[in-house]
Structure formats: structure tokens, C-alpha cells
């Protein structure tokens, strides 16, 4: 850039610094209750200071409470029957064939698309379910499940910078199975590179909306939640230290803000300890609703004729409807309704050591609203804390434990905004996009599911 250009862009940014801007830091899987705890016990002093003049709220997310669905709710303000992301995997129309929904499967515009229509630039870093990176007015680095940095980067000119910063898409979760030391080291490494990239783009790019998301938190929680809970755990400090670093980043970002910039934080779900993993497909099989063509089916693709229902990860139950699936057996109408009610009753009765496993069974019309009702799961389950629902098809038991120690929660995500005057209600993740639009003075589409909190 020549000196004239530089002067010109300096002048421009000064003029535009009067314009409203929003910064949002995302912390994948970080519970509200954990942030409260870390503010109180001195682990996160920067955040504690910010919270004093902000609203930090416990937030609900839509179900299923997985990152792909939740973050899409976050960046569209819409529910899954509008945006089309019901989980990390889904079935192709009219078949039992699995596919992996991605940014191109999202049926509605993203927050940054809408801002782009108003000439506003966005920088979006590591938000899950944005891979492959689609063109936008701004820059975007895709989050989980991005596999190829080139396809995860827009515009392509950004790629050399990322290579220079040694940016990494994701830690290698495989390492958690090898050694917790190696895994922690990997998480710290990815975080450090992400932090540098966030600060670099924050300083170098022009934007109205800046979103930086940390997903290492979620990985840490999945494999090492036990280390948080148990103060004598050999990795307790390793876990807590990670949050000290996160707090460092929060401070570094907050210190950079000018008075026109609103600061927000959020997560896509909370976390709690796992007591048992629970396998819905085993339950369906065991109760005569589901049969597979082999003993160790790899997926629902191996469903056998005569099956009446099946589950997809983590809590989605589908009725094997005639006309909708190649081997559909259930008639729409009365038979469908009767079966749904019967399955719901059966699920509610599952217990573990006398405790009910399932908190609530929803019919799809209770939780979803939009043009994609037909492809929505027919029933959807919300479990009690401790019971991690899974869609595995090859399990021969209803419950067991694996390597994981933490599981997602639906009602304990967090939302923070650095102003006190916000709506007096429990926020929902769909509220964030309209809140940002309102803050930036952009018209909110009439069909968003959420409402602006300001």
C-alpha cells in the first residue's frame, strides 16, 4: 500500500470510528455457572471487571444442544426448522444415507450476510458450521468441522497471513486418548495461535462486527471436565490455567475497544459431568421399534425392513414414515401420532439407579417452527444432567461410560453484553443475532425466531 493510500485509509477509519461496532467473543461450551465461579474465585479477573458494568446472563440454546445447531442459531437468529442444521449429521432426502451438513446446507442468510447488504464489514473467526467459507463482505475463517485451511478462508488473500501466523483450525482430539499432557499442550498451542490471529485481524482489518470464537474450551470440557470438578485432580491446574489464558485474551480485546464499540460474549451450550452415556438406538431396538441388518451396524444406513423409528445423534428420533423414507412403515396421521406418544412415554420411564434419565420429550411442533418441519426430527429428547444421549448404532447396552467426562447442557450457556439496560428475560441463543442487528442499526428480518435483547 502506498503512503497516499495509507493516509487515505487512516482518514477513513477515523471518520468511521464514530460508527457503531460490535465485538463478540465466543467460548464454545462455556457454562454461565463456570464463568460466575471463575469471576468469584479470581481465576478470571479481567472478566470480573467487565461483568461489574455488564449484564452476564444464563442463556438457553435450542435443542439438540450441539455446536453445529447452536452456532447456526447464533449466526442466523433462526431455529433449526428455518436454518436446516439439526446436528452434525443428517440424512439425505428420501434415504437413510448420511451426509454432513455444512455452510452450504444453511438455508437462511447469516448475520454477516445481512450486515453486508448494508455495506458493513464483518470479521468472523472460528464459528462452527461455517465451512466451507462462503464469500461475504469481510473476512471469515471457518470453524468445526473445517478440514482444509484453504477452503476455510475467505478471501483467499488472507491465507498467507494465516500461514504466517501458523493458524490451526482445531486441536487433535486423538491426543486425548494418548496422553492428557500432550492433549493439553495441543490445546494451548491451538489457542495461542488463534489468539494471535484474533488480535492481528482485530487490529489490521476494518469491521463493524468482529466475532472471535474459542473452541478449545469445548474440547477441554469433553475430555477433562473431571479435572475441573476435582480440585485434587492432577490436571486441575492445567484446566483452570487454560481459563486464565482465555481471561487474558478477553482483557486484551476489551482494552482495545473504543466508546462506539459494544462488547459481547456467548457460548453455544453449557457443560456438566457425565454419569452415563445413553444410547437411544439401543433403546429403540430393545423395545422393538428398530432392527438392523447386521449386528454391528455402522449407521442407520443399515436399518432393516419393518423398523418403525430410529435415532440420530444426539437426541433426535425419527419415525420411519411411509412416503418419507424408502422403507417407511408408519402411516402418517393417527398411527404416527400413536407411535410418537408411545415412544415418548417409554423414554420418560427410563431410569438409572432410581433416577429419571430424561427430563423432557418434545414433539417436533413444540420446539421447531419453519419451512423445514418435514425434515425435523419427530421427537426430540432433553436429558437430565449427567445423562449424555448418543446416536450410536452399534451399542449392545443402553448405558455405559467412555473416555468422555463432560457433556453438554441446554440451559446453562452464557450471554454477556457490556451494558446494564437489557430485557429482563432469560436470553435464548436466537436472540443474539437480532440484538447485534439492532445495535448496528440494521433492520431485523421479520421471521427471526429470537428477539433483540436491547
Amino acid at each position: 500500500m502506498g503512503i497516499l493510500d495509507r493516509l487515505r485509509s487512516l482518514g477513513k477509519s477515523q471518520v468511521e470510528s464514530k460508527e457503531k461496532k460490535v465485538v463478540l467473543l465466543g467460548l464454545d461450551g462455556t457454562p454461565y455457572t463456570l464463568l460466575k465461579q471463575f469471576c468469584a474465585d479470581g481465576t478470571m479477573p479481567n472478566l470480573a471487571k467487565i461483568v461489574a458494568s455488564s449484564s452476564l446472563k444464563q442463556m438457553d440454546v435450542s435443542i439438540p444442544e450441539v455446536s453445529s445447531t447452536s452456532w447456526t442459531c447464533f449466526y442466523t437468529g433462526m431455529n433449526p426448522a428455518q436454518h436446516g442444521i439439526f446436528g452434525f449429521l443428517d440424512l439425505q432426502p428420501n434415504s437413510y444415507k448420511i451426509y454432513f451438513p455444512n455452510s452450504k446446507s444453511v438455508k437462511v442468510p447469516a448475520l454477516w450476510d445481512i450486515l453486508g447488504n448494508y455495506g458493513k464489514r464483518s470479521v468472523v473467526i472460528n464459528v462452527p458450521e461455517t465451512y466451507p467459507a462462503k464469500p461475504l463482505n469481510g473476512s471469515l475463517i471457518s470453524g468445526f468441522v473445517a478440514t482444509d485451511l484453504k477452503k476455510a478462508t475467505y478471501p483467499p488473500e488472507l491465507l498467507p497471513t494465516l500461514t504466517e501466523l501458523k493458524y490451526r483450525l482445531d486441536p487433535d482430539a486423538q491426543k486425548a486418548r494418548e496422553s492428557k499432557d500432550v492433549f493439553l499442550e495441543d490445546i494451548y498451542d491451538v489457542f495461542e495461535k488463534r489468539r494471535k490471529t484474533i488480535l492481528h485481524l482485530f487490529d489490521q482489518e476494518k469491521w463493524s462486527l468482529f466475532i472471535g470464537t474459542i473452541t478449545e474450551t469445548d474440547r477441554l470440557h469433553h475430555f477433562m471436565w473431571d479435572a475441573l470438578v476435582d480440585k485434587n485432580h492432577p490436571y486441575h491446574n492445567g484446566f483452570v490455567d487454560f481459563y486464565r489464558r482465555v481471561d487474558g485474551l478477553i482483557g486484551e480485546v476489551y482494552d482495545r475497544l473504543d466508546s462506539n464499540t459494544t462488547f459481547m460474549m456467548c457460548s453455544d451450550h453449557g457443560f456438566t459431568s457425565i454419569e452415563q452415556q445413553v444410547y437411544l438406538n439401543f433403546w429403540l431396538k430393545d423395545n422393538g421399534y428398530l432392527k438392523f441388518t447386521s449386528d454391528q451396524p455402522k449407521s442407520v444406513e443399515e436399518i432393516a425392513p419393518g423398523s418403525r423409528a430410529f435415532a440420530l445423534d444426539p437426541t433426535r428420533i425419527y419415525i420411519n414414515l411411509k412416503g418419507k423414507y424408502p422403507q417407511g412403515t408408519v402411516e402418517p396421521g393417527a398411527e404416527y401420532e400413536k407411535l410418537r406418544a408411545e415412544i415418548a412415554d417409554g423414554l420418560r420411564a427410563i431410569t438409572y439407579q432410581g433416577k429419571p434419565v430424561i427430563k423432557k420429550v418434545f414433539m417436533k411442533e413444540d420446539v421447531f417452527r419453519g419451512p423445514l418441519m418435514e425434515q425435523s426430527p419427530d421427537l426430540i429428547v432433553l436429558s437430565n444432567y449427567g445423562f449424555d444421549m448418543k446416536g450410536s448404532t452399534n451399542k449392545q447396552v443402553l448405558m455405559d461410560r467412555e473416555i468422555f467426562t463432560g457433556m453438554h447442557t441446554q440451559d446453562d450457556a452464557h450471554f454477556l453484553i457490556n451494558r446494564k439496560d437489557i430485557l429482563d428475560k432469560k436470553p435464548h441463543i436466537c436472540d443474539i443475532a437480532p440484538t447485534i442487528m439492532k445495535e448496528l442499526g440494521v433492520a431485523i428480518p421479520s421471521d427471526v425466531s429470537g428477539t433483540a435483547l436491547i
Binding site: L89, P93, F100, N102, F144, D148, Q174, P314, G323
Partner: protein, 200 residues
């Protein structure tokens, strides 16, 4: 990429699925940021062709008008979609000749199935003799001889039919080819990473 205009012309009996498919295809095209306009027979008859009846002459006039507007739109880079019965082969071919960039979709569906669906309650009336010239019942329908796409809405779901149409449009270069997001190796990698976190 600058958009190449064309006309997507649905033809088929009432209740065969023209309107349904037109809207699915429209939504898909919009995802590619294409400009699209639907001319639906039922809508056109309330404005552009208001007052026209169902004689052969009036039907031809109606179709020529729709064809005329499709032509204007197409040559200005819009994807024009016509969803009208358009029962006469000769007029459809005439419109095809004028427009050039013309993709004909025959929405096949046996009369009995259309009558059973009776989306608008017209078949009941037609069969009771209350509607004098009703296509398929008391008025002719001429199937296209060489349509670019044939779908059978009595055997396929709307999504499957729409896919066929979209695929043809891709082949003909009116829609950008949908590249697979994940290569086979990448898909394995995605599976592996989901598996590691217990999602698969």
C-alpha cells in the same frame, strides 16, 4: 458470473405439481443468487390474462402472453419460470422457438392421481359436469414429445423431482455445478473427527 437468462417451462395437468416444483426450484436458484420470477397460471389469470376463459383460443392467448413475458425476462438475464397447464403442444413449441433458452419440464401424473389429490377441489366439480372444459376431463391435454425433463409426481417426492430439474439446469449450464463440499478423503476426516468427540 453473469447470469444467463432462460425460461423454465412446466407443463402438466392441474394438480400434477407445477406450482409446487416451481417454488422449490425457485428457492434453490435464489441460493445461487440468481434473479428468478414465477409466472403461475392461476396467478396470471387474475391479472395479465384476467377475463380470458378456457376455449382453445383463450388458452392459446393466455400461454402466448405468459411466453411473451418469459421472453422479456429471459433476455434480460432473469430465470423465468412458467407454471401453467399449457395443454397445447403447438403453442408450447411456438414459445420455445421465440425464446430459444427454453427448458421444458413435463410434470407427468396420471389423471386419477391428480383427481384424487384434487388440490383445488376442481376435479370433483369437473367430474360432476360443473366445469365445461376441464383439462384431462373434458378438454384435451397434449403431452410434450421432447421435453428436457420428465418427472413423475405420482412416484417421486417433490424433492426428488426438483433435484432432477436442477440437475438438468446444471448440465445445460443455467445453474453453476454443485461441487461436492467434501472429497471422499475429507469426508473420512470429518467422520474421524466427529467420532473422536463421540458424535458419530
Amino acid at each position: 458470473m453473469s447470469q444467463k437468462g432462460f425460461t423454465l417451462w412446466f407443463t402438466g395437468l392441474s394438480g400434477a405439481g407445477k406450482t409446487t416444483l416451481a417454488h422449490i426450484v425457485e428457492a434453490e436458484m435464489r441460493k445461487h443468487n440468481l434473479r428468478v420470477e414465477i409466472l403461475d397460471g392461476d396467478v396470471v389469470r387474475t391479472n395479465l390474462s384476467k377475463g380470458l376463459g378456457f376455449s382453445k383460443e383463450d388458452r392459446d392467448t393466455n400461454i402466448r402472453r405468459i411466453g411473451f413475458v418469459c421472453h422479456l425476462l429471459s433476455r434480460n438475464g432473469v430465470a423465468a419460470i412458467s407454471a401453467a397447464i399449457s395443454p397445447y403442444r403447438e403453442i408450447r413449441d411456438e414459445v420455445r422457438k421465440t425464446i430459444g433458452d427454453f427448458v421444458e419440464v413435463y410434470v407427468h401424473c396420471p389423471l386419477e392421481v391428480c383427481a384424487q389429490r384434487d388440490v383445488k377441489g376442481l376435479y370433483a366439480k369437473a367430474m360432476a359436469g360443473e366445469i365445461p372444459s376441464f383439462t384431462g376431463v373434458s378438454d384435451p391435454y397434449e403431452e410434450p414429445l421432447n421435453p428436457e425433463v420428465v418427472v413423475d409426481s405420482s412416484k417421486e417426492t417433490p424433492e426428488v423431482s426438483a433435484k432432477k430439474i436442477l440437475k438438468k439446469l446444471e448440465e445445460l449450464g443455467y445453474l453453476p455445478k454443485t461441487e461436492e463440499v467434501y472429497s471422499e478423503e475429507e469426508e473420512e476426516e470429518v467422520k474421524r473427527r466427529l467420532e473422536e468427540l463421540g458424535y458419530f
